[in-house]
């Protein structure tokens, strides 16, 4: 138990002053600006937006600067800010089929309509440090080709036409919202996806990796991975129609998983789904694998007791702000608590030693 303590205000003020000075670092080095972080640390900004669960690149960049690059601290700042915002409404579900793709690959079909488009990827780089980046150079310029303007068809649609993959029935109900009501288990797939998309990248990656290593194996192929911009539309009651309110970059991953069939279903492929704010493909692939693992019950698969099949275990531990909040609170003063523990241990020792002495004397 944590018992409040008073005092230490001067020390706290001084600590925060020093924090500000350390944040700035060596003053002979130019100060970072928020736009520099937004433009040149874009993938860190994307992670903070995804796990902060708030799409606003300028705010995420500011949070990274304030947090000295500690991304979980930055996510914490965004989550705290988010709670101050009035909820203006909700968007129509984004149309990822209409995404203007920067990147779009399929690991299942070589000659997929729309093509394999690599985009600005780290794949196929040699992971050797590039010392040329130590010096300021001319801005690099990418080559261009004839732009494709038509939408890119979904890979799973091709499989769906032949009935080879489980259908994803369209509906338009109101999904549950974990930011409005406390989580209850079983949570169901819409809440699982909401929790996973804002979950800690490292945790979701670890869970996904565990399924690949045999703890709830589900044989995934990346049917499609796409990164690009989608427009967001929202119904405005005063107007009586919907309007586009902006544009987001999203990463979407659809896995195609082996499924031998069950008592009620013929053999067909099944799906795992990942959709994440920003260019965040490691997270989106991980999310799709974990989504698929958590669907064991609905698909009539065996629960082998793998961690990634345990909905409550996964969802209750995926949030790094809840996790770090509870973990880090144990470093705050627990003097009263500990004092009582100390007395208890002393008493128990005294009793044990007293008994021993008594035994010695008796012998």
């Amino acid at each position: 138990m944590y018992v409040a303590v008073k005092g230490g205000e001067r020390a706290i003020d001084a600590a925060h002053e020093w924090l500000a000075e350390e944040r700035r670092g060596d003053t002979t080095v130019p100060e970072l600006t928020v736009p520099q972080i937004r433009e040149q640390m874009a993938l860190a900004v994307n992670r903070v937006m995804a796990e902060g669960s708030l799409y606003d690149p300028d705010l995420a960049a500011l949070a990274i600067k304030q947090a000295r690059g500690d991304l979980i601290e930055a996510i914490f700042l965004i989550r705290a800010y988010r709670t101050t915002l009035p909820r203006l409404g909700h968007s129509a579900p984004v149309d990822t089929t209409g995404m203007r793709c920067d990147r779009r690959i399929s690991a299942t079909f070589k000659d997929v309509p729309g093509g394999q488009v690599l985009g600005p990827t780290f794949d196929y780089t040699h992971r050797l440090l590039d010392f040329a980046l130590e010096a300021e150079g001319e801005a690099p310029r990418a080559r261009e080709a004839e732009p494709r303007r038509e939408p890119t068809p979904r890979v799973t649609e091709f499989l769906n036409k032949d009935g080879l993959i489980q259908d994803e029935p369209r509906s338009d109900g109101t999904p549950p919202d974990m930011t409005r009501e406390p989580m209850e288990y079983p949570a169901g797939r819409p809440l699982r996806l909401q929790a996973l998309t804002r979950g800690d990248e490292g945790f979701v990656l670890g869970m996904a990796y565990s399924t690949q290593r045999g703890y709830g194996r589900n044989h995934p192929f990346v049917g499609e991975l796409r990164i690009g911009a989608v427009e967001v539309e929202m119904e405005v009651p005063e107007l009586g129609f919907s309007v586009c309110i902006g544009e987001l970059t999203l990463t979407e991953c659809e896995t195609v998983n082996q499924f031998a069939g069950s008592k009620t279903e013929p053999a067909q492929f099944t799906r795992g789904y990942g959709l994440v704010f920003g260019q965040t493909e490691r997270k989106a692939i991980s999310m799709a694998l974990v989504d698929r693992a958590l669907r064991w019950e609905e698909l009539g698969e065996e629960n082998i007791g793998a961690p990634a099949q345990d909905e409550e275990f996964v969802l209750a531990h995926s949030d790094n702000i809840q996790g770090t909040g509870f973990l880090e609170h144990i470093k705050l003063p627990h003097y009263v608590d500990f004092q009582s523990e100390l007395e208890l241990v002393r008493k128990m020792r005294a009793e044990a030693l007293g008994t021993a002495k008594f035994k010695e004397a008796a012998e």
Binding site: L88, P93, A145, E146, C244
Partner: protein, 149 residues
């Protein structure tokens, strides 16, 4: 004469364009215009909009996360009402978008179209094409290895 559906579609078009436009560019283009007086119906307010996705891209909806949006509504001296919902936290951006929305419904529509919306639309198309062209250059061309004679 436009049908009500066409009028709504046209308005959706410019409202979306104004929402997606870079705030500085809209300020620059509108800065050259004489702007009318107006009364606020709703002063600019920043909030969050919960963005939804669909399971499997096409299935039932789920909540993806929020985005920042600033909205406002105003009435020109001449009576037209303008609305704006624009991405981000820039109140001046929302105000300018609502002003253009109102002006587009009155006698200055052609002028606004030519001096604000046409440049914004062509610049947006150019930005999109620039990305699409880079993406196109990274498209993989597979070729089959033919065995030598």
């Amino acid at each position: 004469m436009e049908t009500p559906e066409q009028e709504i579609a046209a308005r959706q078009g410019w409202m979306g364009l104004l929402a997606r436009a870079p705030a500085e560019r809209l300020a620059e283009l509108l800065g050259r215009e004489a702007l009318p007086g107006f009364d606020w119906l709703r002063v600019p307010e920043t909030g969050g909009v919960m963005v939804r996705g669909r399971m499997g891209g096409t299935g039932a909806p789920f909540n993806l996360g929020e985005m920042t949006v600033t909205r406002c509504a105003l009435r020109l001296e001449s009576g037209e009402v303008g609305h704006a919902h624009v991405q981000g936290r820039n109140r001046a951006h929302a105000e300018r978008a609502a002003l253009v929305d109102a002006l587009m419904q009155g006698p200055r529509a052609d002028e606004m179209q030519a001096s604000v919306l046409v440049p914004l639309a062509s610049e947006e198309a150019a930005r999109r094409d620039a990305r699409a062209a880079r993406a196109a250059a990274t498209k993989v061309d597979f070729f089959t290895m033919v065995r030598g004679e």
